[in-house]
């Protein structure tokens, strides 16, 4: 115990999670995660939004596309979020749009993270020329601005459904995470338990996936969350300028049509505000989870507990 305390006065390298050689140790970690205020708040926000999307069919019986109501009505009992200029029900659009945006966000985030993990881990572990090449690739993808590229691609290929969009967002957003993972692998490959596995003659892939992965789960998860946020933002931005599939209902297309029909200028805030706030809250929720994770793995970042010092100043 005392040894830990003394360490805090000296230098401390960036925390590396204690070696856990199996996948089953996640439960205590999850409990610690829930104990963190930021993480818990973020989780609640995200779960509420996810629930909106998942239970969309039960939350509204109105079709989000039906143009069968008096246009531009403010929120009322019949229409909790009012109606659009085309006479659609905003609440129904909102919950179905949540489902659509989440689908794209999580799918693209998942795909991007898969690429991140493969490239980042490989790059960090193989070293040498292969590492150089992968690093170059990663950095090129990192510095070339993603949105204009997606804009151009999607105007060449008008999308019939969300899948091409998901793939393109994933392809343009994996690079940051790959850099982070590579750095982490580099710092972990010298750790005793990895070295032991290498000396025991385990194959590289086995080491990467059996020894390193479980210890990097929280980092990978955090990259996943960032990828989801950025995918949701990218999709919204793309649809906002009228690209992608704007006839499908999503947060982005709601904003596109709201802007197209001057929702703000005509005072129809109930149409314009909900999707924007949802995107913001969703992003903030995921970021909070991330900061929570950060604080758990790196205790230095935790908010300081100001306690009264008994005794003398020193």
């Amino acid at each position: 115990m005392i040894e830990k305390v003394e360490e805090s006065t000296a230098s401390q390298p960036t925390t590396v999670p204690a070696p856990r050689n199996s996948w089953s140790a996640w439960w205590p970690g999850f409990q610690r995660f829930l104990g963190n205020r930021k993480a818990a708040a973020g989780l609640v926000i995200v779960l509420v939004l996810v629930a909106l999307g998942v239970f969309a069919p039960w939350l509204t019986s109105i079709s989000p596309q039906a143009q069968s109501f008096v246009p531009l009505r403010p929120p009322s009992l019949a229409h909790p979020l009012g109606t659009t200029a085309q006479g659609q029900d905003v609440w129904s659009q909102f919950v179905w749009g949540t489902r659509a945006s989440m689908t794209v966000g999580f799918a693209a985030g998942f795909l991007a993270t898969a690429i991140t993990v493969i490239i980042g881990m490989l790059s960090g572990f193989i070293g040498g020329i292969g590492d150089e090449a992968l690093q170059m690739l990663t950095n090129v993808f990192l510095v070339i601005p993603g949105l204009p590229l997606i804009v151009v691609i999607s105007s060449y290929f008008p999308f019939q459904n969300n899948w091409p969009l998901i793939v393109i967002i994933a392809l343009t957003s994996w690079s940051w995470g790959a850099r982070v993972l590579r750095a982490q692998v580099l710092s972990m490959r010298e750790l005793p338990f990895v070295e032991a596995a290498r000396m025991a003659g385990e194959r590289t892939t086995a080491i990467v996936f059996r020894e390193l992965m479980p210890n990097m789960l929280s980092l990978i998860f955090s990259q996943f969350l960032f990828a989801v946020v950025s995918a949701v933002l990218t999709e919204a931005g793309l649809q906002f300028i009228g690209l992608g599939n704007i006839d499908a209902v999503s947060w982005g297309s709601m904003l596109y049509w709201a802007q197209n029909d001057s929702a703000l200028m005509t005072g129809a805030w109930w149409w314009f505000v909900p999707p924007g706030v949802a995107i913001g809250l969703f992003g903030a929720g995921l970021s909070l989870i991330n900061y929570g994770l950060d604080e758990i793995t790196n205790p230095r970042l935790r908010a300081r507990v100001r306690r009264q010092k008994r005794g003398r100043p020193a």
Binding site: I144, P145, V151, Y156, L255, G276, L301
Partner: protein
């Protein structure tokens, strides 16, 4: 100077990748690109222009792909990126030359301001950990940085320009002709202030939070303890020892997330009808103006690469360790 050489090599490869991507993209369109383009442009511009564009853009159907690539590169080196459909008969290069200064003014200035303010706020937040500023700033700016740039831009436009009338409703200058004359700067500032503010407001949180984390990590280092043991004034420890080291990773982060920020900021231009590259890109997309679209994409990529390169050079000045690499 191995570090600089490595960087030059990297940016060379990145530039080549961007240029090549630009060449490959239109050719991946389903069907024969030349015919599709011809069909699209028929009746909108005269045949001579179409021919000129096809030649200029290397879309010559009688050449092999490799020959096309070479002639594309050749045209590019001479600054020939074809003729814009939207602004026919203006060449793409000229349209871009008019748009670029606005983007540099708005996005360039806003990003630099955001980086400096955010970094400074991060330093203060970490140094006075648990103080009044630290207890609200990180939270507030986490929230603001989660919202889409364009959404905040629209709200700002509505409240501060439309309702309050403090700012113009868009565009970058009054009247019909842009002028960068000194006498015109108050007008330019008047138009740039609100869009710049929205970019700063939505991007500052990232710098604040990452700088705060870097500072906290740095403040645990032995050399900070040593500086305190030396009895140096607090300010000197804070800036010359802690912040001076903590800013290095933030600068790397700045360079690398530039692409991401520029992406968002381009949408801000669209909201404010600000005549920069983002707005030009939108025009090109809406008019199916492929030459202009390609040109804009390439220029944005090159601009971001260049900005990255500048940051890397600055980094060499700030971190003696890379000089001896």
């Amino acid at each position: 100077m191995r570090y600089i050489l490595r960087k030059v090599l990297f940016y060379g490869v990145a530039l080549w990748a961007a240029v090549t991507l630009n060449f490959v993209l239109p050719r991946m369109m389903p069907g024969n690109p030349a015919e599709i383009l011809l069909a699209r442009f028929k009746g909108r511009v005269n045949p001579a222009a179409i021919h000129a564009f096809l030649i200029a853009f290397g879309l010559n159907v009688h050449q092999t792909l490799f020959q096309q690539y070479l002639s594309y590169l050749g045209q590019l080196v001479r600054g020939n990126m074809g003729i814009s459909i939207t602004y026919y008969p203006e060449p793409v290069s000229q349209v871009l030359a008019q748009a670029l200064p606005w983007t540099l003014l708005l996005i360039g200035a806003a990003t630099i301001i955001s980086f400096f303010l955010g970094t400074l706020a991060g330093i203060v937040s970490a140094w006075h950990r648990g103080g009044w500023f630290d207890s609200f700033a990180p939270g507030v700016f986490t929230l603001t940085s989660s919202f889409p740039y364009f959404w905040f831009a629209l709200l700002a436009l509505y409240f501060f320009a439309y309702r309050a009338g403090w700012f113009p409703l868009g565009e970058a200058y009054s009247g019909t002709r842009a002028s960068f004359a000194i006498s015109n700067w108050p007008d330019l500032m008047y138009h740039t202030a609100l869009p710049a503010f929205t970019i700063v407001f939505t991007s500052i949180g990232g710098w604040l939070l990452s700088m705060r984390n870097n500072m906290i990590t740095t403040m645990g280092q032995d050399y900070i303890l040593m500086a305190r043991a030396k009895g140096l004034p607090r300010r000197r420890v804070m800036y010359q020892y802690a912040a001076r080291n903590a800013i290095l990773p933030n600068m790397t982060g700045f360079a690398l997330s530039l692409g991401f920020i520029v992406s968002g900021a381009l949408l801000t231009e669209i909201v404010f009808s600000y005549p920069g590259l983002g707005y030009t890109l939108l025009q090109a997309v809406q008019n199916e103006d492929y030459p202009l679209m390609q040109g804009t994409l390439l220029l944005i990529a090159v601009a971001v690469l260049f900005a990255n390169f500048v940051v890397d050079l600055l980094y060499v000045r700030l971190d003696p360790r890379v000089r001896n690499e």
